[in-house]
């Protein structure tokens, strides 16, 4: 069994009027079954309202399934007694960098998680130091979070989760509010954690470029998993992605258009270098 496993997961948002009567039911996640192995880098893609954030909140036990089951590290998230263990195993980074930093100094914020877990003071300091170094924010440890850029704040948030020593980190659109440079830094930090610390990463995003390094991609649409596979497998189906109102990375799109015009290029080109190599092979 993988570190994250869901079986027929269904979640319904119930809208109520002022008297509390049910007005309507929206199914945000619809019969999702997936299995993530420890150490994988997973990307979940989907346009707004596809249910990807709702799915993410289940992995951290913030939401409890309407139907079906979610297991994190073999523990059922619906069971109250597993709650804190699951939240420690699967840390979560949210979209808005301002609304998830609790401390008034960077190092205090990173220490917040370990403090909650009851880690002894000396070890808190060790964890804070190693986490801040892992995301490249150690030099800013004495700064006020208010004076950092968005990308830096998100990296502090990642460090805050890291310090709890999770096996898995869920990043729920961590780059949606950042500028391109901040986005790159955050994704680089997440990849480093995956490579070096072997932490399982689940990256929820709608930026295609951020997903090309993932081991596997899940594409969500209307609460269901519409596509699944390696980036190469997913992005080779350009027409299908367009149906789901998703873009493909620019290079992939260019290669696709060239193919349509009769150039014999391999399917699923993801990076500029790959395209250049493929074109070189053609001309000789």
């Amino acid at each position: 069994m993988g570190i994250i496993k869901t079986k027929n997961l269904v979640y319904e948002y119930i809208r109520r009027d002022e008297e509390g009567n049910v007005e309507g039911i929206t199914t945000a996640v619809d019969k999702v079954s997936l299995n993530v192995k420890a150490g994988e880098f997973i990307a979940v893609l989907g346009h707004n309202g596809s249910g990807k954030s709702t799915l993410a909140k289940h992995i951290n036990a913030i939401l409890s399934p309407t139907e079906g089951t979610v297991w994190v590290d073999g523990k059922d998230t619906a069971k109250e007694e597993n709650l804190w263990e699951i939240r420690q195993t699967a840390g979560m980074v949210f979209q808005n960098p301002d609304n998830q930093i609790i401390g008034q100094v960077v190092e205090e914020d990173v220490g917040f998680g370990p403090e909650n877990l009851g880690v002894p003071t000396k070890e808190i300091w060790e964890r804070v130091e190693e986490s801040l170094k892992a995301v490249g924010m150690y030099a800013y440890r004495k700064h006020s979070p208010n004076k950092l850029s968005g990308g830096q704040k998100q990296r502090v948030s990642i460090a805050g989760v890291m310090a709890m020593h999770p096996k898995c980190i869920i990043l729920d659109e961590p780059t949606a509010m950042l500028d391109p440079n901040g986005r790159k830094d955050v994704i680089r930090a997440a990849r480093a954690l995956n490579d070096v610390e072997k932490i399982t990463i689940v990256l929820i995003t709608h930026y295609m470029e951020e997903t090309i390094y993932a081991d596997r991609i899940f594409v969500m649409d209307q609460g269901r998993i519409a596509m699944e596979g390696t980036p190469r497998e997913v992005f080779s189906q350009v027409e299908r992605l367009k149906e789901l109102r998703l873009d493909v990375p620019q290079v992939t799109l260019l290669a696709h258009e060239l193919q349509k015009r009769g150039l014999r290029l391999p399917k699923g080109i993801l990076t500029t270098e790959e395209l250049v190599e493929a074109l070189k092979c053609l001309s000789y």
Binding site: I62, M92, N116, T121, N146
Partner: protein
């Protein structure tokens, strides 16, 4: 510009007083204020002034910062002095028209003025030398016994420190909303008081909505990081009494005994 606002009036520098445990400063301030109300003669006040001058000197905070704090209560001080001066019955010193200044009134007015001034300066030393965060920590520790009476001490302290963290963010947001509304033709500056108060509505409504949204997000983020109240929580920066704190307590006791003895018996 709004980013640089700090709450309270912390004056950042390195000094013995800055390094003291916040609990020492809180307890010290409270007892200092109490001592001011125990004196019956000028000796006590003399001792209090000398003690305060010494602490100010040690704190390395320029004196004008202390005086700054006085400006806001100058009016209150004036009223107290005037009322005490003219309305205390007793032996008449000067009389003109219906007003008389009595000897008792004069003494009382001067005492009150000195007492209030010392009180304000004394407590401003605490806020000038302690960061708000430290102050909250100190209060949490000192009020811990109240937990027995089911007072949510940890929760209140947590709320205070979160409020402190979000003040600059909300100020910045206010600034943004204000500019957005100005760009849409809102007018915050002209008209009488009522009109201006009404003009604040389009500023306050979005601010409140955003504050609630932030609160919701923050609560979720805190839960995701295993926050479950004060039970079983450890501290990254625990308050520990050091040698200098014990010395400070000793000095405080010496001051209290000395000044009260002088103020009541001499």
């Amino acid at each position: 510009m709004l980013r640089d606002i700090t709450l309270g009036q912390y004056y950042a520098t390195e000094s013995v007083i800055h390094r003291l445990d916040p609990r020492v400063k809180l307890v010290g301030t409270i007892f200092y204020i109490i001592s001011l109300f125990c004196f019956r003669n000028a000796w006590g006040y003399g001792a209090a002034i000398v003690f305060l001058a010494l602490v100010i000197r040690l704190s390395k905070v320029p004196f004008r910062f202390m005086v700054k704090g006085m400006k806001s209560i100058l009016f209150l001080l004036l009223i107290t002095v005037v009322f005490n001066l003219f309305l205390t019955p007793g032996e008449v010193l000067v009389a003109f028209w219906k007003l008389k200044i009595t000897k008792e009134g004069l003494v009382l007015a001067v005492t009150m003025a000195v007492r209030l001034t010392l009180l304000i300066i004394g407590s401003s030393i605490m806020t000038l030398t302690t960061t708000p965060n430290n102050l909250t920590d100190g209060m949490e520790r000192l009020l811990r016994p109240l937990k027995l009476f089911r007072v949510p001490v940890h929760e209140v302290a947590m709320m205070m420190s979160i409020a402190l963290r979000f003040i600059p963010i909300l100020l910045e947001e206010t600034d943004k909303i204000m500019k957005a509304q100005l760009a849409r033709g809102a007018d915050f500056e002209s008209g009488n008081l009522l009109k201006r108060a009404k003009a604040m509505v389009p500023l306050l409504v979005p601010l409140f909505i955003s504050a609630f949204r932030r609160a919701n997000d923050l609560a979720m983020a805190m839960e995701a990081r295993c926050y479950r109240g004060g039970e079983g929580r450890t501290k990254m920066k625990p308050l520990i009494y050091r040698k200098r704190d014990y010395i400070a307590y000793l000095v405080l006791v010496i001051y209290l005994v000395g000044s009260i003895a002088a103020g009541r018996m001499l």
